[in-house]
Symmetry: D2
């Protein structure tokens, strides 16, 4: 098989056809392992060898995991890969040892989302035959391209004059903020001097590079279950403990949590379900919600306030409530020094016509767990954006990327990694 | 001065000109005492001699009491009366000892309300010169007539063949449910075998008598103060503890307290006030509210639920809350046996053209404290209605009564009292 | 096959084994038709011949109906019955013509509920082998017994000296208040002089008969869908129209609809579901709720208030809302004259040791549509209760009835029907 | 009388003794006019000559204005001044014509607030005998010092080599955002090339100068009255239209207005009052609230959302609602060019030890109406801060300023004005 660099588009399209949601990237992990073996690296840590099991978040129940495992098995993924990734342990880390020099990391996310891809003939994946084959799931955020870029960068570094250690983290479950912390604590991040991560698009066209984002939002996802007591709504409403009223009171007051003087906060209740019938006082209601903040402290302020609202709403209606934090991520900004390095590298590159120093990110990303750890240990981290023409917004059924941008991604990242080895830490 | 029976209208109009609100009936008490002395009774217990001080409810602050005391002094009320009624001790009990026989009680309420009486020339008190002289206060519920009837009945019993003991309770502060309990526990009710009370009107025309009401609502009035912390609403809303949000949450959930399978309940928040300025997070909000129930237990259910709502709403917004029960009254029904006696007596009377056995009362009255105590001790009680043509509803600025009904009231009550002495307990 | 009277228990247990929910009583209808043919009646109107199609309420979607139709077909129900009952047209009317005399009706309900029957060996249906064979569904309200009694009564009347016309209405979908109106308007109720209906149990033990209930609650079931606009909850919450907030506001204010001076009202939101993910402003939320009233007017007051709450809550959050009334039933009381007839008949019966004139029903029943129509046309109607020892409450997994009560039911009803023909209208 | 420059402290202390709230600065205006006449200027426009009457906001009712007018008359304010300032027309504009050159403006605010000044002997105004003589009102924000600085600057410019026109706007009613717009449209601002305004303190110590603030919040104050219908809360709650419930629903949803992606917003309900008694459904409730935004558009978004909430809450409870905007102010930033000029001037000054280029203001100020108009006409504006040691926060009973800072204020402003005439527009 030819070099990755000649197969970037082909590889991305293959991954595009097989999107797998968070913690279910069994086939994806298997395919990455194959490519890593083909490229030739010094160490491959698969699944539970690459992650800290106890630090995983938002892991689905076995009944949601197993069908994907079975599908991957049927698709020919190797038993040893399946074994190491089973029970919510997808992901892989590749290490290239090249003598003395800095330890440089690259984090690549790999999961798809649950969305039915457009079958419109004008949608390029449909027209050109690489539409999702996993009905109801889609690579609608560009992670298929990220994987291709990650593999291409690894290959490029292997073939370069790079000295030091290069570690690529293929991280699962970014979309549900579930995998970042587990990978940050998996051991391979220890001692990393420079950490890169990249995202395609985000409203930047092909040819633009943003050297490092800042102000991602700190975030926490929660599920909340109110438990009361049912009763006949006609005969004896007073005998119930109405979880519906508790939930409604909580929702109203959650959105009314005071704005904070230190900056932006967000709160949302995005899902609700509960109760059994119109003539029964609802016994159980479950909510899914989230809080965010411009800083980790602001997110935590909002979470604390939300919890007080939840407990008081439950008490008001004689119910119990159990709020559970499913996943979270801190706010961490790119280091200016590393942004400068990326900017300098990007400016000289073929195909790059605009280099932006920094943008405010405005959403959340659990790469911040990795960035935070690196920075705490004295390293530098930058999360850069590689422009790509995308016809519609991320997370829409007609999202697509421009395959031309994949090569730019490889160039920027591999040159930046190489530059790190020149500078030494 | 002539007999009360020839001055019923004149007396009622004099009281109408001088309405005094609850616990401030200094002049009213003084005038009743004068009439009692003129009639001649065996014992007159004034103010603190007639009441259990600790059982009073809804007593206003001294600064609200004192202007009325001063006005009464200037109007010539005797110092000994003022001394005994000061500090919220208005009211008087008269006792007529007539040998062997049952102890029969009559309860009469005597307070006005805070409402500006109509100055419309079509309003009879205005046309005929007996409009309220206490601006902003009015006898808009007929208690002026009740006092005249009470005095007339006492005089009639004195001049009758009645044997036994007849006690008339001129009770203060009925409108604010403040005086009933204090009079019930004042000592003079002990041993009462038969207790009567009467109300004029309530949509019954002159000539109708209702022998005894049932289903008054049990009731409790509360004031509730939420205390939080102020903060600048623009600069740092998060630094406040918003009593406004706590109050709004409490109000919404108070009205949503579950209906009860055992019968009718009511809840209301009728007054609110608080906060300082639009740009300040409100530190303190005060509510006035009430709960009612078809039974005392249902009222207590609603009060307990309300208190849970209040405490949880405060906690939700990091505030404190202090709910205070200002006054209350239980549900007590008229005894069928005594209703029958009243009905039998009323049927034979001149001027009575319709006798109704019983009606559902639907509102609250603190005479129930007296009725409850009498019934607990084995006595009988009935609260009857004496019809009177009233042009508009009770508690409206153009309320008035038909003076013809006063004589009917005296006849029904005195004949009923007399009949009790014939039957013996 | 022997007479129904000797097979009451056996029949009831057969129906118990095959519970079918509202509008899906295909097998039940088929079995009733077989029995009717065996008994021999003058007319059998099946499904769409017995119902007014446009007056049906709460009819499930085809995908919910069809599995039950298929199961009934596999169980051997005749094609002509299936054809006439398809698409939500279950139920059957039997007519016995016996010359001159009054037209007497008996309404029998026949549906089960969605509840998993207890597998506890102490639960008699389990112990004696007649537990539900339709997993997740159960005759937990006694309708299985009602069918047996209905068939038994028909047979008894056929073999009696009854003259006139006797019509038995096997009505579908009582539990979801869906079938009453359609059967009331199906034609066979026209001209009915006397209408009976009966319910087993309801806390009355075997041997007790209640001659006619009063005060069933008028009721309406609704589904309500709020539709807003989704948006990213972190990036641009202001771009959404939050159906979650609209629903919470509606729920809070629904429970706070003012109590009514004319009597008891109820409101409940018993089910809720909507939204897609914690980081998305919810676009659509669906509620299931109900309103009830002591009278039809009180129910309609509450429904009108609820609708105003719903529309205003939607408008407040820039959403649309569609409230749909799924089913409803009016309040109709038993006629005292017919209650007296039932009472007189019951008093003389073997096995009846207590006859109660009337009880307040306190819940809802769509037989009121049939009763209302009969009364409007000048006829009389009574809904009686036939006591049965039941170990646990109706609508619980361990509900069961005492088979002894079936014969009592047949005796009371057939004697009452016979008595009607003696009295003539 | 000696020059202002030698009386800065004395003047400020005189104004401190006589604080007057917005639109009631009759004595203050009179005293300023006297000083202007003493200094000698070319034109003095008093009250209605200086303001656009129709553009005034938050003007109190006559019964709130008149006592202050009478007090000023008794204090000896000249009849012509009183006539021109009556009916909410306080304020004065002074014009100095000095030949060719730019038109330079200085805006000075002059009102106090309603707060009782501390009588603590440690509070310097108390200790040194210049505590407020208007009980319940206080110069707790430093406007007393602003007036002294404004007069001192005018005198300094008169005695300088300044050429051009210098206009000083003594603006009323800043604290209630009522006077800015009226003065912006009063005519004297037309053609202004450079506009200055200054505020003492705001956490900057004596010796610090901030050359120009940015990001004041756009703001609107509202009063909102809900009108429903009263009813007896026990007898017939359904007959009311509950303004209390409407207000509670509105408050809950007001605080829950979605955060906006474009930046910071604020909403607050700071005052509430209404209803008559605990047993009456509330007929009328009045709220006082405000909305703010980081930009004028964000404030308007919040106001529009708030109004939708208000109207829907009223409709939900069958009430009417009237939201009234009492006052507002846009967001306008200082011009960097003028900030630079101020910074350059300040750096050279005696007593200035720290010059800050700019700070984010974070609150609201209606000087923005004047700045906006100047900028729209092509002029430059800067709002600077003159540090002063203040023992406690602005708007607290123990607020005080350091009189040393008054001279610094005069120096910075007069040098900046002079520098403008050197640069020419």
């Amino acid at each position: 098989m030819s070099d990755v660099r000649h197969r970037l588009s082909e590889l991305r399209r293959e991954f595009h056809r097989h999107p797998e949601p968070g913690w279910r990237e069994f086939r994806t992990t298997g395919r990455i392992v194959s490519e890593l073996e083909r490229i030739g690296v010094d160490e491959i840590a698969i699944g539970r060898d690459a992650l800290e099991t106890d630090a995983r978040m938002a892991v689905p129940d076995p009944e949601e995991l197993d069908p994907w495992l079975n599908r991957a098995r049927e698709a020919g993924v190797r038993p040893d890969v399946l074994e190491k990734t089973a029970d919510g342990h997808t992901g892989v880390v590749a290490v290239l040892e090249r003598g003395e020099g800095p330890r440089v990391g690259l984090r690549v996310d790999m999961d798809g989302i649950s969305m039915r891809e457009s079958a419109d003939p004008d949608h390029r994946p449909t027209a050109e035959g690489f539409r999702s084959e996993h009905d109801g799931y889609m690579h609608a955020c560009g992670h298929d391209g990220h994987i291709a870029i990650g593999l291409g960068t690894l290959e490029a570094i292997k073939n370069s004059e790079f000295t030091g250690t290069f570690v690529v983290f293929f991280q699962p479950a970014e979309e549900i903020s579930g995998g970042g912390k587990a990978m940050a604590e998996g051991g391979y991040l220890d001692g990393v001097d420079y950490l890169f991560a990249a995202h395609l698009g985000l409203d930047n066209p092909t040819g633009t590079v943003v050297a490092g984002i800042e102000k991602p939002l700190a975030m926490a996802h929660l599920t909340v279950t109110f438990e009361g007591a049912s009763a006949h709504a006609g005969k004896a409403p007073n005998e119930g403990a109405n979880a519906m009223q508790a939930a409604a009171t909580a929702i109203q007051n959650a959105y009314a949590i005071p704005r904070h003087s230190d900056g932006m906060t967000r709160v949302n209740v995005g899902r609700i379900e509960g109760g059994t019938a119109s003539n029964v006082i609802a016994e159980e209601i479950t909510l899914e919600g989230e809080v965010r903040g411009e800083t980790t402290a602001l997110m935590e302020y909002t979470r604390t306030e939300l919890e007080r609202v939840l407990y008081a709403a439950a008490e008001m209606h004689d119910c119990d409530v159990t709020p559970r934090v499913i996943s979270e991520s801190p706010r961490v900004d790119s280091d200016p020094a590393l942004r400068d390095l990326v900017g300098a590298v990007a400016r000289g590159l073929n195909g790059v016509d605009s280099v932006v120093e920094s943008v405010e990110f405005g959403v959340s990303e659990d790469v911040t767990y990795l960035m935070e750890r690196v920075q705490e240990d004295g390293g530098l981290a930058s999360y850069l954006l590689v422009g790509t023409d995308h016809p519609t917004n991320h997370h829409t059924p007609t999202f697509d990327i421009d395959d031309e941008s994949l090569e730019i991604g490889v160039s920027v990242l591999s040159d930046a990694v190489l530059e790190c080895s020149r500078r030494r830490p």
